[in-house]
Amino acid sequence: MGHPFRDVAIVGVFNTKQARVLEGYDSQTIALEAALGAVADAGLEPRDIDGVVGGIASNFLYQSRIGPAWRSMSALGIPAVIEGAMAIACGLANTVLIATGEAGSYRQHASTAPWTRPTNEFVAAYGMFTAAEFALMARRHMHMYGTTPESMAHVAATIRNNGHVNPQAVYSGRGPFTADDVLNSRMVADPFHLLDCAMTSEGGTALVLTHADRAGDLAKTPVHLLGGGTDHYGPSYQHPPVWDLGGVRRPDLIAGHVGRRAAEEAFASAGLGPSDVDVCEFYDPFSFELIRQFEAYGFCGEGEGGDYVMSGVIEPGGRHPITTDGGTMSFSHGGASVQLFQRVIRGVQQLRGECISSQVANAEVAMCTGGGSGALFTDVLLLGKDRP
């Protein structure tokens, strides 16, 4: 049996303008703009789409009158991309559009963003939100391994500098940043300073997948899915985020290592290992999560992530450059789902060689991720230029 995604290619990607506030847009209009952008990027017309993923993509389906078509309501990043690919691999659709966007839903900033603080009777009364959830994971790692705020700050400065030089980033030109700048920013949830944390913004994003046999005739170099996986431990932000939270089926895999199983499966499917990854488009809700991911995916040993990120590998020109558009810290964090797709968008752009900033020379393999330990899930997708 051949590779499960041998017949699938990503052929269109598009980010709309991203901004702290997108005046004149709502979530539906910015998502539709993203959808049209991705379809055009692929060199296709709306009528070429016969499958859509995401709630807002249903509006595209209706407005462009391309029904009847296959539809999934999957929404949160990499699992939605994998589902779209599966639909093509299984013959349920030939060309799938995935689109999402958010604008206008969070503009009063006295409270943290609504998607950071779901109601739950065992956490809400204690003032929990994403920064605190992830901080509880980071603090445990510091206790076990001596991981330092300086190593976290170096991660944040590296990602923010990628955004500083990216003209399309919400915080373009805001730097450059040093680790000291991060450490001197105000404390949000110890050990996270303001600049260790993701921002909030608005924007849309979309991508198009099609059958690999057709991909060669389209506008852009096709990018292939070499492997992917998703690791979840339960609902996010409803239960204590315990580093050592384990399971009965795989007691060796604890929540602190969430994403390890997904990465192992992705690498096995691709026939690759961490040393083969040219671009690490790792999801960056908080600086510590990059340190954790390098350990979880096997780039370094447990507890070594802090030293690893300080060893010159994550910067532009390093062996494993991270989050090259500025990520959720500087490029954009457009709500509950938009940014969860944008590591994949950037990975595709890197493999095409079309990034307008921080292009990694001759990138062949990109590792894109989503989620994080504080949310009890991590998703992984390996992209490559060669058809698997």
């Binding site: 006295a110 409270s111 943290t112 950071t116 603080r117 109601t119 009777e121 065992f122 956490v123 809400a124 009364a125 204690y126 003032g127 929990m128 939100f129 920064a131 605190a132 901080a135 509880l136 994971m137 603090r139 445990r140 206790h143 105000r186 404390m187 949000v188 949830a189 110890d190 050990p191 303001l194 409803q238 239960h239 204590p240 985020p241 315990v242 580093w243 009965v248």
Partner: protein, 142 residues
Amino acid sequence: MSMLTPQVGDIPLPDPGPISTPYWQGCREGVLRYQRCLDCGAPTHTPALLCAACASMNLEWVDSSGRGEIYSWTRVWRPVTPAFITPYVPIIVTMEEGWSILSNLVGCEDNAVSIGQLVEVEFHHTGGPNDIWLPYFHPRSP
């Protein structure tokens, strides 16, 4: 530095469901309760239908000693909503019976927190339509 105290503002309060009602009733009575499996003896929290160790539905409610130690902590300066007074210190406590609970630390200076700190539960009446007594933890001596 500031002394950590229970929140007194209009914070979001629990809305107990059928599984968790015995837990909140215990808090009302000044007792921290958790579920223990009658088949394998393992503890479970947060309140659940299934044992976390063997998936048995044969769970009983038992009283905790109320004592544990801090497993991890954070100190929040940017409140989740303006109703929360900062700083506040979310903690995960490993209870003596081996289960984990999320709460806030009170009864000490905000910079006195550390992993391994021994703590004990206390309850604060927050009222509301469900007459909630919220468990917090304060430092204790060995």
